[in-house]
């Protein structure tokens, strides 16, 4: 196969001084799926932004189809047949799906081609949707569509512009397994049609499944490029993290304690006022991890928010150590030793423009031992934060570093450190490892298990079925806002079985669900 793209000795220093790339080499062949892996902050996204003309390299050369090229902006790159799906959505929420797709390359009509040709726009997009078999309503407003659909919009944006080399930066981080499968099917079709794909992910399983070759980055440098068929997950992870990573989770024998959380017939509505949680009842004991499986958007978010007080329940009761906590404020609930790792660390779980310390002290700053009248005891708080950073291995210059400059994995460690530091009796962990590298995943899993072993109740919500299966003692499945099954996590429970419940094909008896 011919070499399509070569990036040589790329260096990049960000304006704030962060050095993201320090000599990266990458070679991509025509028609292959090339996986790019590395820890959080290894410089993968940066490298791709440079390729796409979004960031200028401080140093280095790019050869495309054998020619040295310099993309002075995405327009250049697009014209050369590059397309990129970014790690975070790049969509204008109030525009429609079709407006987002054609943005910048609208079909035009009228005098001087002044007006949008909205008919042609819709035709073109419908054609694309048909060609690639992606389900989407072009007229829907983007802010109202699901995460999976947004991802499809991103891919259509690329395809609409006729890209031949497609960069996908962690496209699966927010997708459900089903959506991931669909995406992979589309990718395979694309490769058959001579498209070339660069694929970034933290999920090594996916890497093994779909890629032809793999390049590993570490600390801004290329470590190695490997043929997928000649390597293994273990080898890649060793290259990435620099040590062996345990994929299997070690758990102690379960010791069941008092009931901590009990939901009885809880109902809630979503942001638009539509019923989203329907009559959910469940019980979680101390020393137990209760996993919630389900395709995203089936009420997981509402469930977590109702328990943590961030959303009003429209019916039922939520008992915490036999006390109804419905109607309590978020703050009161947090003070009851309930820890909450929210699904979105960028906006809910952390304040990116505050320092790490300020993020860590959120729960304790007004505790008696840290305050003096209206004042905070800064020194004590600093020590407190220092200790947490050490125990949870948050890697940063100092506690005064802005949280926003941390990589995804380190940021998540900050959130977890804070939530676990208060010794929660109930821990609610929502998508705790989303977008986090394997080293960090291992760490986070161990911490969650540790809590369970110390006797806390854990409610684990994850779109990652393998995560649910490897951590949970019992598994509940949410489908369409109902808890359709509660299953013991015995060795003979299969992903397939749970999958049936998740897709609503199978439904356990109501009594079983509420025990």
């Amino acid at each position: 196969m011919t070499v399509l793209l070569e990036m040589r000795d790329i260096h990049k220093t960000y304006p704030n001084g962060t050095i993201a790339n320090r000599g990266v080499n990458l070679e991509v062949r025509e028609g292959e799926i090339h996986a790019l892996v590395g820890e959080n902050g290894a410089g993968k996204s940066t490298l791709m932004k440079i390729l796409f003309g979004l960031e200028a390299p401080t140093q280095g050369e790019i050869y495309y189809k054998g020619e040295p090229v310099q993309f002075h902006g995405p327009r250049d790159a697009i014209q050369h047949g590059l397309g990129m799906v970014h790690q975070h959505f790049m969509l204008a929420p109030s525009l429609t799906v079709s407006e987002n797709i054609v943005l910048g390359d609208e079909p035009r009509k009228g005098p001087l081609h002044m007006f949008r040709d909205r008919n042609k726009e819709l035709e073109d997009i419908n054609q694309l949707i048909k060609d690639f078999g992606l389900k989407l309503d072009p007229k829907a407003v983007v802010e109202s569509i699901s995460v999976g659909q947004k991802q499809r919009v991103e891919i259509l944006k690329v395809l609409f512009r006729g890209a031949k080399l497609i960069i996908l930066d962690e496209p699966t981080a927010v997708l459900t397994p089903q959506e991931t499968d669909e995406l992979f099917d589309s990718l395979k079709t694309l490769v058959e049609q001579k498209y070339t794909i660069i694929f970034i992910t933290h999920k090594l399983r996916e890497v093994m499944e779909i890629s032809d070759r793999i390049t590993v980055l570490k600390a801004g440098k290329t470590i190695q490029t490997l043929e997928t068929k000649d390597t293994s997950q273990e080898e890649i992870s060793r290259l990435m993290v620099g040590r062996d990573v345990l994929f299997r989770v070690e758990k102690q024998e379960q010791v069941l304690r008092d009931m901590v959380l009990e939901l009885n017939h809880v109902n809630a509505v979503d942001d638009k006022g539509v019923a989203m949680l329907k009559d959910v009842s469940l019980k979680v004991h101390g020393g137990e991890i209760f996993g919630i499986a389900g395709v995203e958007g089936n009420g997981q978010r509402e469930l977590v928010e109702v328990i943590t007080g961030m959303r009003k329940a429209t019916g039922g009761e939520i008992l915490y150590f036999n006390e109804n906590i419905i109607g309590k404020s978020i703050g009161e609930i947090r003070n009851l030793k309930i820890g909450h790792i929210p699904e979105d660390r960028q906006t809910t779980g952390a304040c990116l423009t505050s320092t790490i310390e300020e993020n860590l002290i959120l729960d304790v700053y007004d505790h008696p031992e840290f305050r003096f009248g209206p004042f905070m005891k800064h020194k004590r708080l600093k020590e407190f934060a220092q200790v947490l950073m050490k125990t949870f291995d948050v890697r940063a210059d100092s506690g005064e570093t802005l949280a926003g400059s941390l990589s995804g994995g380190n940021l998540q460690k900050v959130v977890i450190a804070r939530e676990l530091a208060k010794n929660p009796k109930l821990l609610i962990a929502s998508q705790p490892t989303r977008g986090v590298d394997i080293g960090a995943i291992e760490f986070i899993h161990r911490e969650i298990i540790k809590k369970r072993d110390q006797g806390a109740a854990v409610l684990l919500v994850s779109a990652e079925l393998s995560e649910i299966m490897s951590l949970s003692d019992r598994i509940g499945v949410l489908y369409n806002g109902e808890l359709v099954a509660v299953l013991d996590n015995t060795p003979d429970l299969t992903e397939q079985e749970i999958g049936y419940y998740m897709l609503g094909i199978k439904k356990a008896k109501q009594e079983a669900a509420s025990q």
């Binding site: 961030m310 007004d366 004042f375």
Partner: protein, 362 residues
């Protein structure tokens, strides 16, 4: 990372842009003035040429410090209030009522009562947009802009029709405050009134409030990311109302200090733009309370410079105003020192990579 290392560049940048701005101003003066040297030197040096002018700078900076602080506080909570002007009027008005209509107190009690009244007046008036914002998310820019008009017109009504001193002549004012209620001046030849000390105290308090207290922490969190603050159990609505009230209180205090220090009583439309200038000052200071003091002095210096230039040379008032605008624009131009900083960072990173220094980012 290493922000402190680049601090000197900030300074270089600021000085650089001031020089640039001054050059620009000179160019204009050269074009229109017959005595450019005189004009320029009176603009630049005039403000320091006499104790009297220096004291004018200080006196002019005083109310600006209050309004600048007032806005720095709300801006840090991410509420874009433009309401300092109205709050200043209301606070000043209520304070003045306390000064004129509470009889028979010793100044030692009366002055604190007046200040407290002004604080309360400003705070309560500030609470209106805060409440509307917290309760219904009503856009604070609109409400504060409109409430400014309401405050100015209604205080004008009251002072013209209800609380007018019959002796006030063609322009309404209240009765003059008792002499011992006025803020004393440092000396006859250096007539700085004691308001500046109140302003400094207020600055220190606000600094402590914002950075050392729990409330300040909460306010800053709400400003930076209110979703996170809510998630952390902070009652964000309450915090927003508090912050707007504190802001109003500061503006109100600024109003009464101006009355007790300069005017001697409440005069109809006594402030022109003190509240709006405060916005510029807070932004120049990047909402840092200590920076507010510096910006206020800078701003007052520019104004006095303009006045001196007008008095000493043939440059007109309008031109002085135009030059002030340019100076403010250039001094707040970040691009200049961003550029310098960037170059320094790049140089350093080249050195780092070539020396193979270990990654300073995880």
């Amino acid at each position: 990372m290493n922000n402190k290392r680049f601090l000197y560049l900030d300074l270089v940048g600021i000085i650089g842009s001031v020089v640039l701005a001054v050059l620009c101003g000179f160019a204009i003066i050269l074009l229109v003035s017959d005595e450019p040297i005189n004009a320029i030197s009176s603009f630049l040096l005039g403000p320091f040429s006499s104790p009297f002018n220096i004291s004018t700078i200080i006196n002019k900076a005083t109310p600006l410090i209050f309004t600048g602080l007032s806005l720095a506080v709300v801006f840090q909570t991410n509420v874009f209030s433009m309401g300092a002007e109205g709050q200043l009027y209301v606070g000043g008005f209520v304070g003045a009522l306390a000064a004129v209509y509470i009889p028979g107190l010793s100044p030692w009690i009366h002055i604190p009562v007046i200040l407290a009244a002004a604080l309360a007046g400003g705070a309560l008036f500030g609470a209106i947009p805060g409440y509307l914002k917290a309760k219904w998310n009503a856009n604070e820019v609109v409400t504060t802009l409109m409430l400014n008009y309401v405050a100015i017109i209604m205080t004008s009504y009251l002072v013209n029709n209800v609380f007018k001193d019959p002796k006030s002549g063609g322009f309404a004012r209240m009765k003059f405050f008792d002499k011992d209620l006025l803020l004393p001046k440092i000396s006859g030849s250096f007539p700085v009134h004691y308001g500046i000390f109140i302003a400094i105290i207020a600055t220190v308090i606000i600094y402590l409030l914002m950075y050392k207290t729990r409330l300040g922490y909460e306010m800053r969190l709400v400003g930076k990311n209110d979703t996170f603050a809510k998630y952390g159990g902070i009652n964000t609505k309450k915090i927003i109302v508090y912050s707007v009230m504190i802001s109003g209180a500061l503006a109100g205090l600024g109003g009464i200090v101006e009355l007790m220090g300069i005017h001697g009583t409440y005069k109809d439309s006594f402030s022109i733009n003190l509240g709006f200038d405060g916005i510029i000052i807070a932004l120049l200071a990047r909402n840092n309370p200590l920076g507010v003091v510096l910006s206020a002095f800078f701003y007052a210096y520019l104004q006095v410079g303009g006045q001196v230039m007008q008095a000493e040379s043939d440059v007109s008032r309008e031109l002085a105003v135009i030059i002030q605008c340019l100076l403010v624009l250039f001094v707040s131009a970040q691009a200049v020192f961003n550029y310098l900083k960037q170059r320094a960072i790049l140089k350093q990173s080249k050195k780092n990579t070539s020396e193979g220094v270990k990654a300073d980012v995880v």
